[in-house]
Amino acid sequence: MLENNSDTIIKTIDITKTYRIGSIKVNALRGIDLEIARGQFVAIMGPSGSGKSTLMNIIGCLDTPTSGQYFLNSIDISKLNDNELAGIRNKEVGFVFQTFNLLSRTNIYGNVELPMIYSKDRVPNKKKKILEAIESVGLSDWIKHRPSELSGGEKQRVAIARALVNGPSIILADEPTGNLDSRTGEEIMHIFQKLNEQGKTIILVTHELDIAKHTHRIIYLRDGIIHGQEEVKNQLSAEKILMDMPRLEDRLVEKHTV
């Protein structure tokens, strides 16, 4: 059993992950010991092939480790089956992807509602919670619109609202600024920083150091092991950067500022 420290939201013990591609074994993860406290804002960095996607999939309960143990909010994830994993993802994890991954045929409201549709329990005040989540990313005027009518930054904000709506233990963002220009990316980081200030645990996977420096702590991954970790001393403030950043002309099109 986990020696429960209620402040620990993520704890992995010697996680490995081995893929088989034909007859070749690929050791994507080779023993990861990681602990993330509740309310932390953590960045995972590493070059491609470092295993950071694999680690993210395991942390996000999309995949289970080959060996080792993973506790999310004190729940042992390592032994769960597909359906139990789906339940955990729904309740405990909010995903934000590089490519937004919104349902293109569904309007903003419907997209944010999606996690609630798959909730096991009936959600009280469902509508209010959805509207609050949309409000918190500043898109209240757009609820009836389809994702295709939104800019990249707006789409990502919808994705964040969707990640928030079920009140998950962690928000897992995989290169959330990868498809955005630097100002929009900064705006997204500003939202994350505000959410973190409100107490949300956020895990950010990125390969950009500038983005990683917005967090508290950077974990470097290389060849499937943790290569190093550092506390971020001078955390960048997205708010300040945004104030100094010249507004691009095309920003005028975007009606919403954070």
Binding site: N83, A86, R89, N101, L103, R105, P115, Y118
Partner: protein, 404 residues
């Protein structure tokens, strides 16, 4: 329940997005269901009108036909005859028979002045009116003395009236029947259209003796028709007639009869057997059509699953269980199939209304084929949707999310 409604909404959304494709996919089911329901409605209509017209002929009828059908098939020649002696024997001895008449049926050309028509001529005694269950519109039916005198008189149906006389009053006019003069003494009330679109008013009735002596030179009959005293007695009356005729015609015990007796009950049973076979054949055609339609649905659902792999990935990442995805795609294929079924039924109702109005065919849409069609299309959607839906449900969310 709410989630089911949500799934139905998603299904409609997905189907609407590809209207043409959805419609083409449904077409198999539409044609299958439409054909089945339409054919069954024609079948039911035919059955109703066959039964109607047989019952309309008068109740409790027994038909005595000369010759043994098996003998005829084998030897082809030497047909036995039914004569007035047979009629008299039955009249004299039968206790369960009320009316009896010999009948000669043929098709002849009737003409009046320069107009002519080709009706069926039924020759009978004066009992024919009762046996054929006819109502006189104008004039009168021929009498017993007309029969014994072999009078050249005729009673004509409404089609004959229309074809020969138009708006004129036919009573008392002289028509020609196969070159012989007949005086019209009565007209019959309209009986409407029969089973297979046959006109039941295109008939002329003449005394059987006249037909024998003046028209055909026959000493025998096509058939003898008898009526039993009640419906319950019809089988016993048939047996009674059989034994009278066997005795009268000197057929020994164990020998085959040279005549055949059928009653309405047997004929109705025979019709029911035929409709039964018809239904089985339709069901066979239907299952092939629906199978093809079902394969179409499966095909398009597989395409849909591939196209929407990413959507499936998103849904799974966000917490949809395998079962949720399975149900989503299953509902979609069922909706596709059931809508096809509904369109098919509407199509069949339309076709059957057209047939009813513009052709001689009578159709009758009953609840049963509609219920069967709807449940079948549900089952087809379920059956052919399950494989694509399982494929969708089993997708690995990580791979599905990477899918372009």
């Amino acid at each position: 329940m709410k989630r089911l409604l949500e799934n139905i909404r998603i299904a409609f959304q997905a189907l609407f997005l590809n209207k043409l494709r959805s419609f083409l996919t449904m077409l198999g089911i539409i044609i299958g269901v439409g054909a089945v329901v339409a054919m069954l409605s024609i079948g039911a209509g035919a059955q109703q009108s066959v039964i109607g017209s047989i019952e309309g002929m008068g109740a409790n009828l027994i038909y005595i036909i000369p010759g043994n059908p098996e003998d005829q098939l084998v030897s082809g020649g030497q047909q036995a005859k039914l004569t007035i002696d047979d009629v008299r024997a039955i009249e004299r001895e039968a206790t369960l028979v009320t009316e009896i008449s010999p009948v000669i049926t043929s098709s002849s050309i009737a003409s009046y002045l320069n107009k002519s028509t080709r009706p069926t001529v039924n020759a009978s005694t004066e009992k024919g009116r009762e046996i054929f269950n006819m109502k006189i519109e104008k004039g009168k039916f021929y009498s017993k003395s007309d029969v014994s005198n072999a009078s050249s008189v005729a009673v004509i149906g409404q089609t004959v009236v229309k074809n020969l006389f138009g708006k004129m009053d036919p009573i008392g006019k002289i028509i020609k029947l196969d070159g012989r003069n007949f005086k019209v003494i009565g007209t019959l009330e309209s009986q409407g259209t029969g089973t297979f679109g046959n006109d039941q008013d295109n008939f002329i009735y003449i005394p059987v003796t006249t037909a024998q002596n003046k028209l055909y030179g026959l000493d025998s009959y096509n058939m003898i028709m008898a009526q039993s005293i009640s419906e319950e007695d019809i089988d016993e009356a048939s047996e009674e007639i059989e034994s009278i005729l066997r005795r009268h015609r000197g057929i020994r015990f164990g020998e085959e009869e040279d005549f055949m007796i059928q009653n309405q009950t047997q004929i109705l049973e025979a019709i029911n057997t035929i409709t039964g076979i018809f239904t089985v054949v339709i069901a066979g055609i239907a299952s092939i059509a629906l199978l093809v339609g079902g394969i179409g649905i499966m095909n398009i659902m597989l395409v849909s699953v591939t196209e929407r792999t990413r959507e499936i990935g998103i849904r799974k990442a966000i917490g949809a269980k395998n079962r949720d995805i399975l149900i989503q795609f299953l509902v979609e294929s069922i909706v596709l199939s059931v809508i096809g079924g509904i369109f098919g039924i509407l199509f069949a109702v339309f076709v059957s209304a057209i047939l009813n109005r513009f052709t001689m065919l009578e159709t009758s849409i009953t609840a049963l084929p509609i219920i069967i069609a709807l449940s079948f299309s549900t089952v087809i959607g379920l059956f052919f949707g399950i494989f694509p839906a399982m494929r969708a449900a089993r997708l690995n969310p990580i791979d599905a999310l990477r899918h372009e």
